[in-house]
């Protein structure tokens, strides 16, 4: 399994180069990765559907118990089928969707990388590894949405999606860590087998995990990124934003629900958010004119349905959710492909202008209708069978709330049927009232362009008619979630009962809503003042940036004096608070060991005072140097030649540095008028000195152990084979620290150069005289 993920990565890396050579045919080549996955899965499928598992572990960071633990069960197999199966179809489809363009290789790379990340996500058993793949899908999705990076809308939508799913990802990480710590293991299987369900920590962890799932699966109120993501090329929408990535949140809920449904707010949250999302998405879909947006809001609605089904956690609903997951992925991918075909042929997705396409493209019409009927829940299609199972599950669930949820789902289903009709009517009907119709002249698409969508339509039909076949996949998958969930069956003909009545209500109500669409639109237009969630997001985002700018102005005024004062004041105040109660003086105070020390100390003090008093910078640098060399002398007296050497050298270097900088600065510090400021500085300095002195005295008095120096000196000769303890400590005993410091020094070097260069005209770059400044292409727009 690790190899399969690596294969995806490898193919992705190769894709840009392949794209340059092969053009559109690159998509056929990158399909190797999902095809290999399917080929790998095929012989194991029987074993998996019988309840078997395939597991594989590669050590990653042994010290952290972090290992790439992958585990495949029947539910995972269903997800892999969707990811790689629909992936293969989408890759094939993309080869016909795009016109030749130079950056197809990059697109193929991203698509394949996403496919690999999604595969890793559904295979991961270690929840930290799961999180890594989760974030990888967010990042690849970001790049795919922003693929048309010259369009502002595209970039904006990509950033919005990244921010929302990214924030959710952080919540998820926190939740997973909390759960993992409570459970004492990072293995998903072990956590689910013996879930930690007690305590406030787990209740919070559950909310955090749901926050991650909701953002990823575009649940209200985080849904606005999904319509925005329709900026991406249609193969992306068909693959990521209907069948796979947005299912990641659903996948997570499905996995955790059997164990955590009764914990804290899990069930109320999933039910409320799921139903609200289903209804709101369906409602918004009725207002859209862009076919892709109709489907996008429809997807939001369906994801809400799935969250409500899985989140409840009962066996029957887990079974129904699994069936619905399959049904939705199949019909939604095919419908998105149809929109892409229409867009490709007619160059429009506006349902107010498309007219007569049904007569012109009968094949596409049939394919779309099958997908749409499945979506609306009309027998005998897979969507109907799955939805029935969901209704049955909620009918059989105990309690009043389950009935309330069921009511919400029926309302959602009514809206679903209505927007489905709107979609089919909008795309294919002949609308005599359209003044400037697009449709009759449209070129027919290549047969192979339609084939992937048609194949999925066949699956929708077969899954409904041959419920036994669908059962063979759905039942083991559900059983892998929860043993009891594998006891149920899909029914093509459920009998004349309440579920059928509810389905009839859904379809009938949808028909009524569709027929009264002009009235609905009018009502919606009247209600929809004040903007949608998207505007709320952007207003909030802009507000956050403004607030950040304001805070930055306060805490970063640009005055170095203020910075240094703030740093040392906070450095002083915090320890001072602790010091007040604990000040202690060691018993055996030694003021000085020799008269020479007193002499040097006097010189140092004199130098320090002179530094403060003098008004000329140059003099201050020199007197500061006296302080530094004086301290070096003290080291010599104490018998620490290495420290003394280093101190003297550093002092020399600093002195010269000051001289270099001084050339740029005024000769004097400040005028006499700023006495108040000077007084403040003196106060701060004296306070710092007092606190530092207090800390040193107290820490001397507080010693209980042998100084580490003695141990280190002994150790450095015995272990490090060196007589210079300082050097051995730096280069051997704590070499790792020194390594880090080296990096800091290198970064400081780069930073110095960059800072100085930032305010210096560039002289080393030749600007061609004829092109001048505007030719560089790097200027920010003014």
């Amino acid at each position: 399994m690790t190899l399969l993920i690596l294969l995806h990565a490898l193919v992705a890396v190769a894709a840009p180069a392949l794209g340059r050579v092969l053009g559109r045919r690159v998509f056929a080549w990158i399909a190797i990765a999902p095809l290999a996955t399917l080929a790998w899965l095929a012989p194991k499928l029987g074993h998996l559907l019988d309840g078997g598992e395939v597991a594989e572990t590669t050590t990653w960071v042994a010290g952290l118990q972090l290992e790439v633990a992958l585990r495949l069960d029947a539910f995972g197999a269903l997800m892999v089928l969707l990811v790689s199966g629909i992936g293969t179809l989408v890759f094939a489809y993309a080869g016909y969707y795009f016109h030749e363009r130079p950056d197809l290789g990059r697109f193929a790379m991203l698509l394949c990388a996403f496919s690999g990340a999604m595969l890793g996500l559904v295979l991961a058993d270690n929840i930290l590894v799961l999180f890594v793949f989760w974030e990888l899908t967010s990042v690849t999705s970001y790049l795919l949405i922003g693929f048309e990076d010259l369009r502002e809308n595209s970039r904006k939508a990509a950033l919005q999606a990244l921010m929302i799913t990214g924030i959710g990802g952080l919540a998820l990480l926190a939740g997973l860590v909390l759960v993992g710590q409570q459970a004492g293991t990072w293995s998903l299987a072990e956590i689910l087998a013996d879930p930690p369900t007690e305590g406030a920590v787990v209740s919070w962890a559950v909310v955090l995990i749901l926050a991650g799932a909701f953002t990823k699966s575009a649940q209200v109120p985080f849904h606005m990124w999904l319509p925005g993501a329709m900026e991406a090329p249609t193969p992306v929408s068909a693959y990521l934003h209907s069948a796979t990535m947005v299912k990641a949140g659903v996948y997570l809920v499905a996995r955790f629900s059997p164990a955590f449904a009764d914990v804290g707010l899990w069930r109320p949250l999933t039910a409320a958010v799921g139903v609200a999302t289903m209804v709101w998405g369906g409602y918004r879909a009725l207002r859209q004119h862009d076919l892709k947006l109709v489907l996008a809001f429809g997807t939001i609605s369906q994801l809400g349905f799935l969250i409500a089904l899985f989140g409840w956690g009962s066996s029957k609903l887990l079974f129904a959710g699994t069936a619905m997951l399959l049904a939705h992925a199949v019909f939604k991918a095919s419908l998105f492909m149809v929109v892409g075909i229409v867009d490709h042929q007619a160059h429009s997705r506006d349902l107010r202008r498309l007219s007569g396409l049904g007569r012109r493209l009968p094949g596409v019409f049939v394919v779309a209708s099958i997908g749409a009927l499945s979506m609306a829940g009309v027998p005998p299609l897979l969507g109907f069978v799955s939805k029935e199972a969901g209704f049955v599950g909620f009918l059989d669930a105990p309690g009043l709330w389950s009935s309330v949820v069921l009511g919400g789902l029926v309302v959602g289903s009514v809206l679903t049927a209505a927007y489905t009709l709107r979609f089919v009517w909008g795309t294919f009907s002949t609308k005599p009232e359209v003044a400037d119709p697009i449709g009759a002249e449209v070129a027919r698409p290549s047969r192979w362009f339609v084939a992937p969508a048609a194949l999925l339509a066949v699956v929708s039909v077969a899954g409904g008619l041959l419920t036994g076949v669908a059962d063979g996949l759905v039942r083991p998958a559900a059983r892998a979630l929860s043993v009891g969930a594998g006891e149920y069956h899909l029914h093509l003909w459920p009998g004349l009962g309440t579920p059928l009545v509810l389905s009839a209500i859904a379809v009938g109500g949808g028909l009524v809503l569709f027929l009264g669409r002009d009235g609905i639109t009018a009502v919606q237009d009247r209600l929809a003042r004040g903007g949608g969630a998207d505007q709320v997001f952007h207003a909030g985002y802009a507000g956050m940036l403004r607030a950040a700018a304001r805070i930055t102005r306060v805490v970063q005024p640009g005055s170095q004096m203020v910075y240094i004062s703030l740093i040392i004041v906070s450095f002083t105040v915090l320890p001072a608070v602790v010091l007040v109660g604990h000040l202690a003086i060691p018993d055996d105070v030694v003021v000085a060991e020799s008269p020479f020390q007193v002499l040097v100390a006097a010189v140092v003090i004199a130098g320090a005072l002179a530094t403060v008093i003098t008004r000329r910078r140059f003099a201050a640098v020199v007197t500061l140097g006296i302080v530094g060399y004086g301290v070096g002398m003290l080291f010599v007296v104490q018998g620490a030649p290495d420290l003394a050497l280093t101190q003297v050298l550093i002092e020399t270097v600093v002195l010269v540095l000051f001289l270099l900088v001084l050339r740029e600065l005024p000769k004097h510090f400040w005028s006499r008028r700023e006495r108040a400021l000077k007084a403040l500085h003196v106060t701060i300095s004296v306070a710092v000195a007092a606190v530092v002195f207090g800390i040193m005295v107290t820490s001397l008095a507080a010693r209980t152990e042998v100084p580490v120096g003695e141990v280190a000196a002994e150790l450095s000769y015995r272990e490090g084979e060196g007589r210079n303890a300082v050097n051995v400590i730096l280069a051997d005993i704590r070499a790792f620290d020194t390594m880090g410091e080296l990096v800091v020094i290198a970064v400081a070097a780069i930073g110095t150069v960059a800072l100085v260069r930032a305010r210096r005209p560039r002289e080393d770059v030749e600007v061609p005289p004829d092109r001048g400044r505007s030719g560089a292409g790097l200027e920010e727009p003014t």
């Binding site: 001289l659 270099l660 084979e721 210079n724 280069a731 780069i750 560039r762």
Partner: protein, 164 residues
């Protein structure tokens, strides 16, 4: 790159010549410090600082800002230093020790007699190079800054691209 001294005034032949003589001597001293560091005061950090002082000397004498050693910019020095010290660490890993764990090399070599050094030496060489790189970077940028600020007003080509 200008002639003349960074702090103004005329060139002093005596200073120039003495620094020319001292430069290499100080460099040798810095390398000496680097190698004795394991057993006597010195080490990569001190040695690097001494080498940095040599660079300063040359800069003060000639006002020559660019470059520490011929052909080696500060980027190369810092990068090489980091590379050497991290390779030392990884080599120890490859040799079955812990990351950066030191080892002892002791062998009879013709002419030189018994040669003994430990794994900290290559690491210290890395430290030395990074420190020299830092000082070279500072002299290079701050020093050149001064050069150009003097010639700035005279050269119209500097008005381009300097709007930030």
């Amino acid at each position: 790159m200008t002639d003349g001294r960074p702090f103004g005034g005329d060139r002093s032949p005596i200073l120039d010549e003495s620094i020319r003589l001292a430069f290499h001597t100080v460099l040798v001293l810095s390398v000496y410090l680097l190698f004795v560091g394991h057993n006597a005061p010195g080490g990569g950090f001190s040695g690097g600082l001494v080498a940095g002082a040599a660079i300063f000397l040359r800069f003060i004498a000639g006002g020559r800002a660019a470059g520490a050693l011929p052909g080696l910019g500060y980027e190369a020095l810092c990068g090489l230093g980091l590379l050497i010290s991290s390779v030392t660490g990884v080599a120890a890993l490859a040799g079955g020790l812990g990351f950066l764990e030191s080892w002892v090399f002791e062998r009879e070599v013709p002419v030189l007699g018994v040669v003994k050094f430990t794994g900290t030496l290559p690491f210290d060489i890395g430290v030395y190079l990074v420190v020299v790189g830092l000082i070279a970077a500072i002299v290079d940028s701050l020093g050149r800054e001064a050069d150009t600020s003097e010639t700035h007003a005279l050269d119209p080509s500097h008005d381009q691209g300097g709007s930030r």
